[in-house]
């Protein structure tokens, strides 16, 4: 009756117990204990440390419990949708000196799970972000000579914090990415990286945004406002589209770059900060200087270390490495299982001229992966912008100088092919002999 009641109570709380002999064989056990045993083993003839998966290898430990009288426990063992706390304790009976109990702790485990799930998710995300910052240089993906050159310069510049850096390149070439790489390659995670697009704000707002303002400096300036230069103290200020900075502000920025001191709008007090300034533009700043739209002195101040980012069309097969990177990225973001690019898709990407550069490639891959869940991306999955081809070309209204154009095309092709005449010929759809003839014609060495 007592055994029956005991078994009933244990079953009610979904728990189990067993008594074990000195030779570690099962003595008595409650019905639910059988659920903890390996199905293929006989509970009556198999030692308990061969019978219960969780006890494999624990013979010595069990003997120690009998010998020392100290219990042994295994907290939170998950089995068939339940969680148990296993306690192996001495039992005051020479024939069965060991008592094994599996207490049901499912409710406790569920609560712990709820708390830790969120905590761990945050921890993992933070660690991944931090790793991304530390591994910023690996954000520059590609093996082409053009990119290797950029990587070398970035490595050199990462330790030099005081000199302003000017990034030039077509739109979408990754100027913002390179600015971040430069910042994270040398800065600790706590040092700020502040980015502002000079074309995005009207002139009136830009000054207070950059330099800050004191209360009453202008209508609605109801309190002191910290500018981005001050916010970037100790870190990096990245001024994108610097060519759009109004001339008046260019003078103020130049003064700041030379003295590292500035005066917030409406203030009589100067402030001093220690920042690295990175500026970027997709325009030819020298031409902007010639046209009087950009101050020459500021240009020289910024142009100490110019870095030209190559367009994607000059990065040869890097386009495929970048595409693979975006596939990995969007697989995680969209929870997809895309394996990669099919050969025809690779061909399509390699043939495209990428006027929008890496940004265009990223958009192209994102679009393709929105509509596909798994397998390989085929050529038809990739939608590319229609770009001007040789047959679309029409004579400008003012006419052109054919020889000059031909010479320029030859020089461009040679440059893109890294001086390799065979590859340059292929880019222009010419044979090697034809290109040689034309190069001689224009005295191009």
């Amino acid at each position: 009756m007592t055994d029956q009641l005991c078994n009933y109570l244990l079953a009610q709380i979904h728990s189990a117990c067993a008594l074990v002999t000195p030779s570690l064989m099962l003595g008595e056990y409650s019905p639910l204990f059988a659920g903890f045993c390996l199905e293929e083993e006989d509970p009556l003839t198999t030692p308990v440390c061969d019978l219960v998966p969780e006890f494999i290898g624990l013979e010595e430990t069990f003997r120690d419990v009998i010998k020392s009288g100290q219990p042994f426990e295994l907290p939170l063992i998950n089995k068939a949708e339940h969680s148990y706390h296993c306690l192996v304790s001495p039992y005051d009976n020479p024939e069965t000196p060991l008592l094994i109990t599996f207490y049901n702790r499912t409710e406790f485990a569920s609560l712990k799970q709820e708390i830790l799930q969120q905590e761990n998710e945050i921890r993992i995300l933070k660690a991944r972000l931090s790793a991304q910052s530390r591994n910023a240089a690996s954000g520059l993906i590609g093996e082409s000579p053009a990119l290797q050159k950029i990587k070398r310069v970035v490595e050199r510049l990462s330790d030099i914090k005081t000199t302003a850096i000017l990034l030039q390149g077509e739109t979408g070439t990754g100027k913002s990415t390179v600015a971040r790489v430069l910042h994270y390659a040398s800065a600790s995670e706590k040092e700020p990286f502040i980015e502002i697009n000079c074309a995005a704000l009207p002139e009136t707002l830009l000054e207070s945004e950059l330099f800050g303002a004191v209360k009453g400096a202008y209508t609605n300036a109801l309190q002191d406002r910290t500018g981005l230069i001050e916010a970037a103290d100790g870190g990096t200020l990245f001024l994108d589209e610097i060519s759009e900075l109004p001339l008046a502000l260019q003078a103020k920025l130049l003064s700041f770059l030379e003295t590292r001191r500035f005066r917030p709008l409406g203030s009589t007090r100067e402030k001093s900060v220690d920042i690295r300034l990175i500026a970027a533009t997709n325009k030819d700043l020298e031409k902007e200087v010639e046209k009087g739209r950009f101050r020459e002195d500021l240009f020289f101040r910024l142009n100490i270390v110019p870095l030209r980012l190559p367009p994607l069309r000059e990065m040869e097969e890097d386009v495929l490495l970048l595409a693979d990177h975006f596939i990995r990225h969007f697989n995680i973001q969209f929870n997809k299982k895309i394996k990669g690019l099919a050969p025809a898709a690779k061909n399509k990407l390699l043939k495209h001229s990428w006027p929008g550069n890496v940004r265009e490639l990223s958009n192209c891959m994102e679009q393709a992966m929105i509509f596909k869940d798994r397998g390989w991306l085929e050529a038809d999955d990739l939608t590319l912008r229609r770009t001007t081809t040789e047959t679309d070309f029409s004579l400008p209204a003012a006419g052109l100088n054919l020889e000059k154009l031909e010479k320029k095309l030859l020089l461009d092709a040679l440059k893109r092919a890294g001086g390799n005449k065979t590859r340059a010929a292929a880019l222009l759809g010419l044979s090697r002999d034809t290109i040689r003839y034309r190069l001689e014609k224009y005295k191009i060495d």
Binding site: G57, E73, L76
Partner: protein, 170 residues
């Protein structure tokens, strides 16, 4: 013939993919939703090693080491070996390999160890995580595998190597 039963533990930082490696090895499935493991779960897998008796591996999926000392050392008692796992995309999980191994060896000083640098599918060939993992494994003089529970890369090889080391310590 009944197999030799051996206990092995999968240890490592939280979220490195220990549960996913076991599911890939035991059930050949992968699910990328993340559910943190609380306590332990024991799975079984019988493996045949050439020229050896079959081994029935009792694979302990031990909850992640989110901070030192939180995982019960009793989980390591009686283990013949451990696979210590890190996430190649998370540097701190690689840096934590050594303390985890130390905790394990404190309880099971003869336990064999292999290292698994998981989530190899997430990192490029020259990712700093790969280089740090290889360097760490060389310094610790332990066998190591770059694994992916997602595509199965090196998963079976990693478990089988541990199985061999347990059966034939030489």
């Amino acid at each position: 013939m009944s197999p030799i039963k051996k206990k092995i533990c999968l240890l490592g930082d939280v979220g490195v993919g220990k549960t996913s490696l076991i599911r890939r090895f035991v059930e050949n499935i992968f699910d990328d939703s993340y559910l943190t493991t609380i306590g332990v779960k024991v799975s079984q897998k019988r493996i045949s090693l050439t020229g050896e008796k079959d081994v029935l591996m009792m694979i302990w999926d031990v909850e992640g080491f989110n901070k030192p000392g939180v995982v019960s050392p009793n989980y390591f008692m009686g283990a013949a070996g451990a696979m210590v796992v890190c996430d190649l995309s998370r540097q701190e999980s690689i840096e934590n390999l050594e303390p985890v191994i130390r905790d394990f060896h404190r309880i099971s000083n003869k336990g064999k160890i292999v290292l698994a640098g998981n989530k190899a599918d997430l990192v490029g060939a020259s990712h700093p995580g790969r280089l740090l993992f290889r360097e760490t494994a060389r310094q610790l003089e332990l066998p190591f595998f770059e694994t992916s529970a997602l595509n199965g890369q090196n998963v079976a090889a990693c478990f089988e190597t541990l199985g061999r080391k347990i059966i034939d310590p030489s």
